[in-house]
Subunit: 594 residues, 2 copies
């Protein structure tokens, strides 16, 4: 069975040393999680992940979910009991609003817990993950009545939630969607239509499932401006809050997917299902984006969480499997061959994955902390900066961490040779599960377009200018630090390339939007690399500062960072060159020539 | 059902225009396949691939193979009938020795047929593919008696063949293998041991299966020098050539794999199975390499064949699926949205795949032609060059075409959005099937080490020097050709970088072999990119020459080549930079730090 051990020391390094979240103990929630409490929470979370969720990961993959003729769905063996333990432990409520039973702790702490769950069992983690998105949409946009009815049980985890956007003929282009909502005399709506790809859309883990559904109110205009968001529960809710009559939404089938078999991906058929408007009519997309943005951070995390799990297993295998001798002389004369971790090409793969995983975690938590600050900081300028960063970094995180997370999971699978291809060993599952993260919550090409077409230019480019200024400040503050010099040099070079690419985009993308589209994915990757260079510079700074306390840990951290500078960061040059080559060759062919 | 249409025009372009195989009509076999005959053969092959094999691809994936309690294995529905048609059509004999019933046609033509089969149904194609490897090993190394008994029926396809190398504890490091062979009074051997990952190891397609088995003759030295190669048939062969008593080799189980479900991957248990020595005792690895090298070309082809199939389907989907509007204004006002092929990021993926597929096909056939020349040319210098190129290019083809073939299949899957993740649509299968090509017949890391550690330095570097000289000659011959200039510039720059990297390797790899190991994969990719730059230059030259005849086809060819120059070739700079960064950061950590 594949292993996964929560790298708590790495978590603590990012949270306590690099981000220093204790600095924010004046803010609501942060005060309740001083370092010792936060550490304890993470340790308890690690127990749940390792002892309960890891053993169910392969079972979930092999068994998958089963839909019965009545439309009910059974999750894999053990998922119900594991979900009960999750709820009993109070985990779904970690960062939710205390007014509705939540613990109100920082989101960044919740995200750290989510990473453990996702590395341990990505398909399982999606059930509570989507609930939290539904919670946020209602919390941010719902009426007081809706909040009172739905939030407490979503917070406790007694009920779960879903997001219903996609229809057979539309995913990215939600303006095309057809599901309709007919107003009723009592202020409610009746919803009819078909939604597909609904993760966790039907299951046996919770007593009710709260669907957040995008639909068009009868008579509303075509396009996205005609969309509204509704709550439509699986069971209507009685006055006492208990689940009542079955609503008109049924799982028509479940999909046979490449991975995440443990999560039920449903076709949901709405047939005059009762629904309640969330927020204003016609502002559905806006409300949905609250869920989407949160979900995108969660998906970014899924990308690197699979790379982390795959990495840990590849290390175990590479130390255990003996094959051939080191090129520089026998290392394990007592064995018939040396463990394959002696081979440089195996090291290249392992170093690549760990350099990615550590920077990805840092980048995710660094951004998530701004998510907390955006809502909780008393400093208006900081709130604005935090909001800008959340908007700017979300597509970068989603696109870069899932593209690279998948690639590193594939590379770690390769360490196993032929055994990597055999399902029994579990490496295939990490790859197959990681693959979906590049697709859902907005395919990565859509993220790239969101970045160059929307986020870069918002408020006159304020967000990216703030980011560039932050990089410049960091470089200026540390350029006389000899020990940090290689990291500062790397960051300076990456930043210069990103600035160059940004300037090129402004010049060319405005005149011809196809130039922006043609550059978008390479630009997103260049942005991700630059952010990683910043993360490594910040991590190296702390490692140099603190290395006296625990030399081994920090020496490894610095060595991993140096690998990033030498063997990963050079990709920024090729990306810039591709971007500046322009889009003409991409768009040259007539459609018929394909 | 996923589609696949054999791109015959592309095949003819490479064979007839770029390679001009009619130039070799003085050679045995080539004389029998003038252009019109070769074209006809390919057209007939395309019918088999499209009409018979494509419809079975998804069935093979869903059903997989079934092992029965008696050790027999049933292939998926339709495979038996398809295999019968393959045999009836004489396809297995295409390029085999006429002395044993073969048609003696050029290998490069056979490879073109194999590409069709592999794009249509990779798992099916492995059954005849492995037979051909067994044929080659016996043909090159077997005694006259073994040839007489086994070759005619391997050539006809009545029997199939396998390669038995891997054991549970060894794959790459065959020196560790334990299967033993005990000499018998009659000159035969009795073989005992366990072999794993045996593709096509047991099935119901043919009346006999001829296993080529590496084993250690009792008393032989440890390591690879103690290995010998044996023929061990599933059924012993009667004097009249018919299958007789069952031999002591049985399929113990079949693997559950990530892909290629239609091919049975077997554990084969040898229990005093009768075997016959092929070639000299102790020279088994040498004989096995005859099979391996041929197999590696076949695997390279599998890599891009899946990218080709995935590309064709992505094009169909991108033209059909409407979603959003073009950034430069509505293109299909009559539809609710524009087809997604209008979007630059979708174009980027499609152009990337086609630029790869076309160069990969050219590179494979170009190399395979040298395989013919190595054996058939009367010119000794050419035979030597051909042999050098086969040795040098085989690891590059295997490593680069399978790494990139997989990456492009993944990219094409992405075009489908969520539907790409649903098995029903078939894109997942291309990805899952393509994944194995990076692993088997020597994992790609082993190919990279073979390239830098063995092939580069052979005969004082003669092969690579010949290749560099050929590139220089081509550049010199065409540098005054204005129309070809961008291609010559691209080739010159790539060649300079590969030369630089080669020099760096010679300098540093000899002093510290770990430096060679650390650079090996990036070097292999840089080599592949440079070879592609050469293929594109040669293709562009012919396209410019011939464009008057069929302007659309050649304009598309040139546009695809220009995309390669602008948006792919820049990667060579990053690869060179990574190589020259050296291996220190890769090898910095103690084993315990992982």
């Amino acid at each position: 069975m594949p292993a996964y051990h929560v790298p708590l020391r790495e978590f603590r390094f990012v949270l306590n040393e690099m981000l220093g979240i204790e600095r924010f103990s004046n803010l609501p929630g942060f005060a309740d999680a001083p370092q010792d409490v936060a550490d304890q929470i993470l340790e308890e979370g690690a127990k749940l992940a390792q002892n309960v969720l890891v053993p169910l990961n392969k079972i979930g993959d092999s068994e998958g979910c089963t839909r019965h003729p009545d439309g009910s769905v059974t999750t894999p063996t053990g998922f119900r009991e594991a979900y009960r333990q999750l709820v009993d432990g109070g985990w779904p409520s970690l960062s939710s609003d205390p007014d509705f039973g939540g613990q109100g702790l920082p989101h960044v702490l919740n995200l750290a817990f989510n990473e453990m769950v996702s590395s341990a069992n990505m398909a399982f983690g999606m059930y509570p993950g989507l609930s939290h998105g539904a919670y946020s949409a209602i919390h941010n946009h719902g009426s007081a009545e809706l909040k009172a009815i739905y939030l407490p049980r979503l917070v406790s985890g007694e009920w779960t939630g879903t997001m219903n956007l996609t229809e057979p003929h539309c995913g990215t282009d939600l303006g095309l969607l057809k599901t309709k909502a007919v107003p009723q005399a009592d202020g409610s709506y009746r919803i009819s239509g078909q939604k597909i790809f609904i993760s966790a859309g039907e299951h046996d883990l919770a007593e009710n499932i709260i669907h957040l559904v995008l639909a068009r109110i009868e008579g509303a205009p075509a396009g996205v401006k005609g969309l509204s968001l509704f709550v439509s529960p699986k069971y209507l809710v009685n006055r006492d809050g208990s689940p009542g009559a079955r609503n008109g939404v049924v799982c028509g089938s479940i999909e046979h997917k490449m991975g995440i078999h443990g999560n039920s991906t449903c076709v949901l058929n709405y047939d005059d299902a009762v629904g309640y408007l969330v927020g204003e009519a016609g502002r559905g997309l806006n409300a949905m984006f609250t869920m989407m943005n949160e979900a995108r951070l969660g998906v970014a995390l899924q990308g690197y969480s699979q790379s982390e799990a795959a990495y840990q297993n590849a290390v175990i295998y590479a130390k255990d499997r003996v094959q051939g001798r080191s090129l520089t002389g026998t290392k394990s004369p007592e064995k018939s061959a040396d463990p394959i971790i002696v081979h440089p090409d195996i090291r290249r793969v392992l170093m690549g994955a760990r350099a990615f995983n550590e920077a990805a975690r840092a980048f995710t938590y660094w951004t998530a902390l701004y998510g907390d600050l955006q809502h909780k900081s008393p400093d208006e300028a900081l709130r604005q900066k935090a909001g800008d960063y959340m908007a700017l970094m979300t597509p970068v995180l989603k696109g870069y961490l899932t593209d690279l997370g998948f690639a590193h999971a594939v590379a770690c699978q390769q360490v196993y040779g032929g055994h990597g291809y055999i399902e029994e060993w579990g490496m295939s599952q990490f790859v197959r599960d990681a693959r979906i993260a590049m697709i859902y919550e907005g395919a990565n090409g859509v993220q790239a377009l969101d970045l160059v077409g929307r986020k870069l230019g918002q408020n006159g480019g304020r967000a990216i200018q703030t980011f560039f200024a932050e990089l410049d400040d960091f470089i200026a503050a540390h350029e006389s630090d000899d020990a940090l010099k290689p990291f500062i040099d790397g960051l300076r070079s990456a930043k210069a390339r990103l600035l160059d690419a940004t300037g090129w985009l402004v010049q060319n993308g405005l005149a011809n939007p196809d130039e922006a589209g043609a550059a978008s994915t390479d630009y997103l990757h260049l942005f991700g690399l630059t952010a990683f260079a910043y993360m490594w510079a910040m991590m190296a700074e702390k490692a140099l500062q603190n290395q006296g306390n625990e030399p081994g840990f920090y020496a490894t951290k610095l060595a991993t960072g140096r690998f990033f500078l030498a063997r990963v960061l050079p990709e920024s040059g090729a990306l810039l060159e591709k971007i500046k080559a322009g889009g003409a060759t991409i768009m040259a062919l007539e459609e018929a020539a394909f």
